[in-house]
Symmetry: C2
Subunit: 563 residues, 2 copies
């Protein structure tokens, strides 16, 4: 209410406030979407799981803990296993397989990242000996306004998914929309590489980039003369040689842009999309000493300093909204675009172990690749300090954010797959708080297992969530990462390993690490989950690899089950 009312007051001086306040009924909170890149579920001192894991002691993220105390923590939150599919899904409300965008997009248009390498002049095919890469929309997403012949000729707009962008709907509803940081909605050479095409009014440092060339001011964030490339960070010349790590520079820029909507008393949507903690793993000098002193090796300490740097940014955001007096009218969402990297050796540690207790990491449909931290805070609407067990997924944000903003009755080019989480995070969190007051929940384990019924939350805790990665992530085959699909339904998860044709079943409530395959003991459940997964993928005409030996598409999982 505050926003509209004050516009009226400033423009219609003399019209009584009583009249104005009667006219303006809707509440339009500010929304800050704080997105972290490649950030694993367990890489935080915020203990999201039932138990305390070694990672919780290794990393220091006091501001994530602070946000969890203010809002609600979703302990079973999911993303796609790589960046572009999640980010496009946030903009479209679609499942990645439905968009046919199942892999990260490359650096330049018309160059599928899995087939010929990203940048013009390079060849770095991530190809398997067994499977040929699928057809997919490697030019990623593009607003429908570019679907005309002139633009199709000008840009690379084959293999493109045309969509109505969420941010455009927010802007058209009166939100002041701001993009800061990583975009990665489409490759360079395409309209989707330009955040302004999605409805952002302000944009800083966003492009087709999937990661920065450097986070360091002495490297000019990758812009040293003669050294620039597609991953050089733009719009940051102010901070060259300033001693300011990219993570802090983006935060300073983001908060500065908020001055305008706050002065204008307009609701804002800030998409603060950090490049951190993606590779390259580079120290933040403000924080590294603590980790070296704690005995971490150089690589691990560097990564931990990046995590704390990201957490400091979150703290700066929280301090800012408090200082400006807008905390009560600001929704903050904390999320990661996929699981933590488990192959980048410069994070320290042994490959495939960095996300423990979760199995594997980025690229994989095992939990390490897709389960991510997620929090919502919304004072007065969300019960603070609560935990929500209901599984949620990236395509849910589109309808959620529009509902939070009071935007309804909108038309989209695309068919939405997600569901609004608003009732879940408001009524659901209140139910959790009530159960806690009643003594039904007394510890973290109980909280993490408390099931909120659909009648309260609007979300069926047993709805199927679909994951699908029909690609090879790196040049060398990684059996636990490449060519996997998965479905989660309730506590159960089925993993389809396309390479071997295996179907694995895990009960996540008892086996979050996916160590104990119980498929053989539960054939009916396997059949049901494989059927649902197959039906969804078929319905979406999801990209599938081709078996080189036969020239046929890889079989859908339900075809592997003997009748």
């Amino acid at each position: 209410m505050k926003n509209r009312l004050n516009i009226v007051r400033s423009v219609v001086a003399g019209v009584s406030a009583a009249v104005a306040s009667n006219i303006c009924a809707a509440d339009r909170p500010n929304i800050i979407f704080f997105l972290v890149d490649d950030y694993g579920w367990s890489e935080t001192s915020l203990q999201i799981g039932e138990e305390q894991y070694p990672n919780n002691l290794k990393f220091r993220t006091p501001n994530m803990e602070r946000l969890a105390r203010r809002g609600t923590l979703l302990t079973n939150a999911y993303a796609c296993s790589v960046s572009t599919p999640t980010r496009c899904s946030l903009m479209t409300g679609m499942n990645a397989s439905h968009m046919h965008i199942t892999n990260f997009c490359s650096l330049f248009k018309d160059r599928p990242s899995d087939a010929i390498g990203g940048a013009p002049g390079t060849t770095n095919p991530n190809e398997s000996d067994i499977f040929a890469n699928p057809e997919w929309n490697h030019n990623a997403i593009c607003p429908v306004s570019f679907r005309n012949e002139a633009d199709k000729n000008r840009y690379g707009l084959n293999h493109t998914t045309y969509i109505t962008p969420m941010v455009e709907l927010l802007r058209d509803a009166g939100y002041y929309t701001i993009h800061v940081g990583k975009a990665h909605w489409a490759p360079a050479g395409n309209p989707g590489s330009n955040p302004y095409n999605f409805g952002f009014m302000t944009q800083i440092a966003g492009s087709g980039n999937g990661h920065p060339k450097s986070y360091q001011p002495e490297d000019y964030y990758g812009n040293l003369p003669g050294n620039g490339d597609f991953s050089s960070i733009q719009n940051m010349s102010q901070y060259y040689d300033s001693g300011v790590h990219l993570c802090e520079a983006l935060t300073l820029e983001a908060l500065k842009t908020l001055e305008t909507p706050i002065k204008r008393d307009e609701p804002f949507y800030l998409y603060l999309s950090h490049y951190s903690v993606h590779t390259p793993i580079q120290r933040d000098d403000r924080f590294i000493q603590r980790y070296l002193d704690a005995g971490l090796d150089e690589n691990a300490a560097r990564y931990a300093s990046m995590v704390e740097s990201m957490d400091k940014s979150l703290g700066d955001v929280l301090d800012y909204v408090d200082r400006k007096g807008i905390a009560d009218n600001t929704v903050i969402i904390f999320y990661s675009d996929n699981g933590g990297h488990c192959l980048a050796h410069d994070k320290g540690g042994e490959p495939h172990t960095q996300n423990l207790p979760l199995r594997e990491g980025k690229g994989s449909c095992y939990e390490g690749g897709i389960r991510v931290p997620l929090m919502f805070s919304w004072p007065g609407k969300i019960a603070p300090g609560t935990r929500i067990n209901t599984p949620v997924i990236n395509e849910d944000f589109f309808p959620s954010i529009l509902e939070i903003a009071g935007v309804s009755d909108y038309h989209t080019e695309q068919t939405l797959d997600g569901q609004s989480l608003v009732k879940l995070i408001t009524k659901g969190s209140e139910a959790v708080a009530e159960a806690t007051r009643k003594g039904e929940i007394t510890d973290r384990r109980q909280a993490n297992r408390y099931v909120i019924p659909e009648s309260v939350s609007g979300i069926d805790p047993g709805r199927p969530l679909i994951f699908h990665y029909p690609h090879q992530y790196r040049v060398e085959d990684q059996d636990d990462i490449d060519f996997l699909s998965a479905i989660r339904q309730g506590d159960w998860k089925l993993v389809y390993r396309m390479h071997t044709g295996e179907l694995e079943l895990y009960n996540l409530a008892d086996d979050i690490g996916e160590r104990n395959n119980v498929a053989e003991a539960n054939p009916a459940l396997v059949r049901q989950l494989a059927g649902t997964l197959s039906d969804r993928l078929r319905g979406w005409n999801a990209p599938m690899p081709t078996v080189r030996a036969t020239g046929q598409p890889v079989a859908m999982p339900d075809r592997l089950i003997r009748n």
Copy 2:
């Protein structure tokens, strides 16, 4: 009126329109500042002078002619002789010498462009054997909000002029402020290299850049991997390999950003600051054939195609405001930041001749360096198709634009030197139209000589205008360019050649080419002009070079006159 009224209507549904329209009285037109770089006064088919010059036949700029028919053409408009001083003056309302910003800023902070070359690791001193370079504010301008110890330590903020930016005042008054193209208000490493620090809400492709590395989409505008440097154009990845010349790409982006304020019914300020027609001289394929067919050599044809490309952008802007139905409420200003280049051989022709009939070009205080095209259109307020003879200068835009926007009662850190041109372009243009109707003006020569009295225009046609370039422009001394000062007062112009200590006097009404030095015949006039020029420079504590032989500053011009 339209803007405010419609905000009220959309927000306060139910309050009668009669009430609302009584409350809202002020008119806030949209403003488009169309700025061209290094564009000479005679390089157009629009005949600004009294006569038709060969350049008027060489270049084709139908949209400049179209704008002149819509608005008023100021035939005696001035800028500084190089880029940064003019651009900073637009942002501050100060004379360049008063700001102590008398040369273009370099690529990186703390590196005066005249002393040590622009980019770190380079040395390219533009030093004279006779004079040592002056102290000047080579870190250029910075908003006052950065004048604290933390920022001073973080950035290069010695040799900086702290100012209140014009655009911030516009934004705070409710204007939707947009930056597209060249900024060049300060070097990289400083807050002044970031357009967002000046009050822009949207910014595209602006930085400390003085020119682009390339205008060509196949070069990715200078961003080919391994090829980037400080002059690579940012935020344009959408257009890589699209066939779209940078000039058109910036136009497309600029017009796209206008959709938002138009939808929101907010007045906008669009600063469309083309990199064209600065070096590198690169063809626009859409237009070059005409010039080759006309017999121009390759270099000259390339340059002419860039000029027509720029003119096409102006036409696209005019078409856009017509198509959107906002032409009647939109002020368009056309201006160049300094005179045309006369040394760049790749423009074609002999050096020092490109701006004929004007003497010399960029860098010089002769007319070729400082006299530039200027037009204002404002339907209903400015008499169309008129010419204004009154001399005006870059520092006049700050108060003019704020008055056009209805912004008054503002505080600035700096002391303004300019005067508002609003009465001149409205009442003054009406006086010219009236004189034409009465038959007092019947041809272009009479129009260009018609003097509008101060009582009508608010501007004394005999006020002194000060120009001062205490630098060497290039490595080799250029006698007609380096180390010059000048004053124009009425039709008279005094040029001070510091190298030789000469004072030259020209009557521009009869000798626009400054060929006939009449100083000897007019000692009293020389004394008066030298005195006024010296008083202004002393009052501003203007930067002066040092004579190497004596270690003393170069003498003020009044010291050269024998009593």
